[in-house]
């Protein structure tokens, strides 16, 4: 029972962390719960479909279908998180004003926030399909099915609880600083996901195989709780290759550049309208 709880918890944790950080990062944004909720439901439905067609996905593209799908899901999530951060560097100030004083208007607040739905949906899709496959696997294997199932459900609940805790913790950050902190978190998260995507592309043979630059598994295993958390939050890998590092750094720099550029432009506009 415990082993199945741990496996499911590990899978759920990544999705739960991404969603809770997104929720905190969009605090005060009108209808963001709706968008994120819709993404979650679509992601869950998608996860079941992916699990159902796991066989055909695995054998697709000469046996690399699974890796290609995982890489695509991750890269789409990266794109959406990048979009979120760049969008926020334009709107964060209005949001802070809005949270301090509800009457302050959020321009574009009624705009569809597709990126929130897609980002949370992708997070659930990837991890969810593995949870569904695992649960199917334990229920179908007979003997200890019910205790394994109980464990799995406990794992799901524990994962969601940790997400919930992180969310409450983030909301304790003073409003003026909240979006700055969540922005940095999402930045590192996105860079880590991009590095993971490159791993799948290497596994599929699209990117060349490389020997790891180092192995810090003995120091901090990716399977330990700390290792797992750091893997999700900042993209820690125990055996990174040069390609992992390149993907990580390029994503990091591109998003920062985008945020700076948009932030600079909206500053200029504010100055002009103030003058």
């Amino acid at each position: 029972m415990l082993s199945s709880a741990v496996i499911v918890f590990r899978e759920v944790l990544e999705a739960a962390l991404i969603v809770s950080i997104l929720l905190a990062a969009t605090c005060g944004l009108p209808r963001r719960t709706l968008w994120i909720g819709a993404g979650l439901i679509a992601g869950l439905a998608g996860a079941c479909i992916v699990a159902l067609f796991a066989g055909s996905i695995t054998s697709a593209f000469e046996g690399t279908g699974q890796e290609l799908m995982n890489a695509s899901i991750l890269l789409i999530a990266v794109l959406m998180l990048a979009w979120h951060n760049i969008w926020m560097s334009h709107h964060a100030r209005e949001l802070v004003a809005h949270m301090k004083n509800v009457s302050a208007k959020i321009t574009d607040g009624s705009l569809p926030l597709y990126f929130l739905a897609v980002a949370s949906g992708m997070a659930v899709l990837r991890e969810g399909s593995e949870v569904v496959l695992f649960m199917y696997s334990v229920t179908a294997s007979g003997s200890s099915a019910s205790s394994m199932m109980t464990g799995s459900i406990l794992g799901v609940i524990a994962g969601i609880l940790v997400g919930r805790l992180i969310y409450s913790g983030l909301l304790r950050i003073p409003t003026a600083r909240l979006f700055q902190y969540t922005g940095w978190m999402i930045l590192l998260l996105a860079a880590g996901l991009a590095a993971s995507a490159s791993g799948y592309l290497m596994q599929a043979g699209i990117l060349p195989y490389q020997a790891p630059l180092w192995d810090s598994g003995a120091l901090l295993s990716e399977k330990s709780i700390t290792g797992q958390l750091l893997h999700i939050l900042i993209g820690y890998q125990e055996r990174p290759t040069a390609i992992h590092l390149i993907f990580y750094l390029v994503t990091l720099c591109t998003i920062i550049a985008g945020m700076r550029w948009v932030g600079h432009r909206s500053n200029l506009r504010l100055q002009n309208s103030g003058a």
């Binding site: 066989g55 695992f134 696997s137 294997s141 990117l207 490389q210 040069a242």
Partner: protein, 106 residues
């Protein structure tokens, strides 16, 4: 800097592409057979893992980075290495108690 990195990437890829050696592993009753596979060092190796159970399994490297779900009653091709000589453990993550295996690289 960027050009240098790209050049480095292609340099490593050409050596890795050379020859492929193929090994078969099957999964039955959530156990790998053979559970010990000896593969050549410093070479890209193809593992054909056939899951003969009705349930899916996730092939996961313990001492190398690899994760692949293998649905029930199906085969998956997994490329590993090139590795330095040594022992590289792997597990079936969905049944970690019984599904254990090791690549012995010589």
């Amino acid at each position: 800097m960027k050009k240098l990195l790209i050049a480095a990437l292609f340099a490593t890829s050409t050596t890795a592409m050379a020859a492929e050696t193929r090994f078969e592993i099957s999964i039955k009753d959530h156990m790998f057979s053979p559970a010990e596979v000896t593969i050549p060092a410093n070479q890209r190796v193809k593992l054909v893992v056939s899951n003969e159970d009705a349930t899916p399994e996730e092939f996961e490297g313990e001492d190398f980075t690899l994760e692949k779900v293998i649905p029930g009653n199906s085969k998956a091709t997994i490329m590993v290495g090139p590795f330095e000589p040594g022992r590289y453990e792997f597990v079936g993550e969905f049944h970690e108690d019984t599904a254990k295996g090791v690549l012995i690289v010589e």
